[in-house]
Symmetry: C2
Subunit: 459 residues, 2 copies
């Protein structure tokens, strides 16, 4: 057999075993690495799982895949919710989660160099020891990996002040489709030598290369973080209050909005009585040296239309105020399966987005709980349904489609921080248009001519 | 004549005139649009100048250039210092500076949509009316255009806190090499639908497309900005003090360092006596709600090793403290021609960088004044020489080369914020390596198969 022709699944596995340790074809292992948190089933059966422990493992895997036109699905913790890591037919699943070392952390340069399998919260904890933080904080940060965060350009609650993953990535080591190792970017804060390849790989969902290392920017950890919460009669008053925060040029480090449906589900699951106190909840934080002054300003602005508002006097109280936000998704998932949607609109349109989603819920008869990173206009409408159903019911899909249409109608995007993955591909085309799709396809072919990297996803 | 074959210069001009208004072949106009602030001569004579006033003008020009394989050199104000806008032989010079309208400025969404010829400081002034700012502030901001800033991913003094141009660009309208109009990105703060084409065009120095519009992120304008200055015995003490600022996790909104040679030239040109007060000067600012507390902390940290330090008590005093920095380059240019270099090193290596540049000046006998955006590790060694000389003297070129080598040796880059342009192309290869060059060439070919966009630059 030459190394440039398609081979049978068995032959592929044999070739893999000859080159890479950590190859498994155990059905249970394959099944465990075929899905993610999207809740969707894998569209096909993979031929093998490779648990990479070195850059060389990844290079060998890609060389073989490139030569034999075998699809490769890279994955980290499988915490994605858009289906980007779902296994596809005949694919090699390439698990990077065992490459989990923090290789260096320079407290003066405020740069960490990591392998892709490092857990997000683990890096943040390591940074904390030096008075630093890793700013991007996706909700899945306790188990998501940095490689996955980079692949999806993950967001989180702190992004409203500190930016998303892209802003934290200085440089990458990437294994290309043909196994070449590419270093992008630099270890300095600034630098403009050559094209910005780093940003091209960030958010590319495993379609252009496999991230095997990253130089990440850390930031000073604020010594003071203060929390306020305010209840509102309805979601429109709450959204108006969030707009007022922007209009007053305040810069909260967190600004979250929960609608009535969310509060009611949290109450049901947790035994709280949030919904009795108002039809919408806003939680805000200010941090840094100006935190006291800023949180007073936040309280004044939010308090204007609020039915109640309070400032957390200590950390326990602050944690309590944040509980509803933290438990929103787990509470919803207590009662059913959830499609976690993720639209982003210009923040001046946030009230319209909430109203539009409520109308979609009423029209389709589907349960939708919405909460938002309000400071960014990033809304998560969670469409839930009976977990016992074999398939996603038609009205649920109809509601999801209507939510995407709403996002575009309001000048927004179908995904603020989760990615296109498998589930939103049709909508990508509607959002970005044919010229952009054509350019993206050209770039994809330039980097992965045999289209082996995560085919059928993202692009 | 078919439209897919090379044509004579005369034929090209005739075709241009038939399709686009604003075509000039006047030798004086061509000469005026052939150079930039690099001080280097244009490597060739252009065939025509197109003063674009619409997207359609740019599309028509590119369609023609693509069909006839005519090089196109896009330019804004010509304020670049790396030679990116120098005219080349047989090229159409495409001047975007007349497309200078701010199309919209949304104070609530904090987004401005602009044409490429808007002057940087003009947008900042427009934003100021709404309590906002356009954060990137290149030294040339009073005359540079936003299109040029985007093409070079321009930096500035505020970048240490607010990020470079890339962080301010939400989306672009780009005319591709073949005349297609591409819209990238979005008008929302967050969004991850598809590849990050926006970042690919930012900093690409006119080699991948012509930016004809941009959605730019504005930020709240700090209501308070406080300024301190401190003198040091030498540049090493000053660099150590800047390191201490980082170590204490302070986040100045400006942190500049000037060496003795710079202070002496400013004194000579302006009649000041800065050098008599110390061998190095550090200027720092803090802004925002925590400014008072932060500036006190800055003063305490800088004051430790300083020979003197002071806090500006009013705006006039602050302006006076900043004068030396503002006048550094003009002062140097009073006495000769200047090569404006632009290396960036991990900020922990800043003292070594200053020391290394001093050693290069001593070894080559060339005058080098250095000042730095110290908070970013971004050092500008200004190599100056007799303006009457017809050619750059060999020791000056030797010094420049040694400075680039030093940057790489210290783990840095040959350009922090000015770009590769024409002058640093050899060094790009040494910095990024063959894999990166190959990938950049592949991407270039994917977007500009006939290599008509700013050939010979940047890549």
């Amino acid at each position: 057999m030459t190394v440039t022709e398609p081979a049978s699944d068995q032959a592929i596995v044999a070739l893999l075993r000859a080159r890479v340790p950590g190859v498994s074809t155990d059905p249970a292992a394959l099944a465990a690495h075929a899905t993610d948190r999207s809740g969707a089933g894998a569209p096909g059966r993979p031929v093998a799982l490779v648990r990479a422990t070195s850059v060389a493992d990844v290079q060998e895997t890609m060389r073989l895949a490139h030569a034999h036109r075998v699809p490769v699905v890279p994955r980290g913790a499988g915490s994605g919710v858009a289906g980007g890591a779902l296994a596809t037919e005949g694919a090699i699943v390439l698990d990077l989660s065992a490459m989990d070392r923090i290789l260096s952390l320079d407290p003066l340069d405020e740069v960490a160099v990591v392998e892709p399998g490092v857990v997000t919260a683990g890096l943040d904890a390591a940074a904390r020891e030096h008075g630093l933080m890793y700013a991007p904080d996706p909700a899945s940060g306790a188990f998501s990996t940095l490689g996955g965060n980079i692949a999806t350009n993950a967001g989180g609650m702190r992004c409203v002040k500190y930016g998303v993953t892209r802003e934290a990535v200085l440089g990458l080591d990437v294994v290309l489709a043909d196994g070449r190792l590419l270093r992008t970017g630099r270890r300095t804060v600034k630098g403009v030598a050559g094209l910005d390849l780093t940003s091209l790989f960030v958010g590319s969902e495993g379609t252009l290369g496999v991230v095997v290392g990253a130089a990440l920017r850390l930031r000073p950890r604020p010594q003071t973080t203060l929390t306020v919460a305010a209840g509102f009669a309805d979601v429109e008053d709450a959204a108006a209050a969030c707009s007022a925060v922007a209009r007053e040029r305040l810069q909260p480090s967190l600004l979250e909005l929960l609608d009535r449906a969310t509060l009611e589900v949290v109450d049901r699951a947790q035994g709280t009585d949030l919904a009795s106190r108002g039809g919408a909840l806003v939680i805000a934080q200010a941090d840094g040296t100006g935190a006291h002054e800023e949180v007073e300003a936040l309280l004044a602005v939010l308090g204007k239309e609020a039915t109640w508002s309070e400032l957390a006097l200590d950390e326990a109280h602050a944690a309590e105020l944040l509980t509803a936000r933290r438990l929103a998704l787990p509470s919803i998932e207590t009662f059913g399966r959830a499609l976690i949607e993720d639209i982003c609109v210009p923040r001046s349109r946030l009230a319209e987005a909430f109203r539009g989603v409520e109308a979609i819920a009423a029209r389709t008869g589907v349960a939708i709980c919405s909460f938002a990173h309000a400071g960014d206009g990033n809304l998560h409408p969670i469409v839930s349904f009976d977990a016992g159903l074999a398939e996603v019911p038609a009205p649920v899909l109809e509601a999801a489609d209507a939510i995407f249409a709403l996002a575009l109608e309001l000048g927004g995007t179908v995904t603020g921080e989760h990615g296109i993955g498998l589930l939103k591909r049709d909508w990508l085309a509607r959002e970005v248009g044919p010229e952009s799709l054509a350019v993206q396809a050209d770039l994809k072919r330039a980097l992965d001519p045999h289209l082996v990297l995560n085919p059928g996803k993202a692009l």
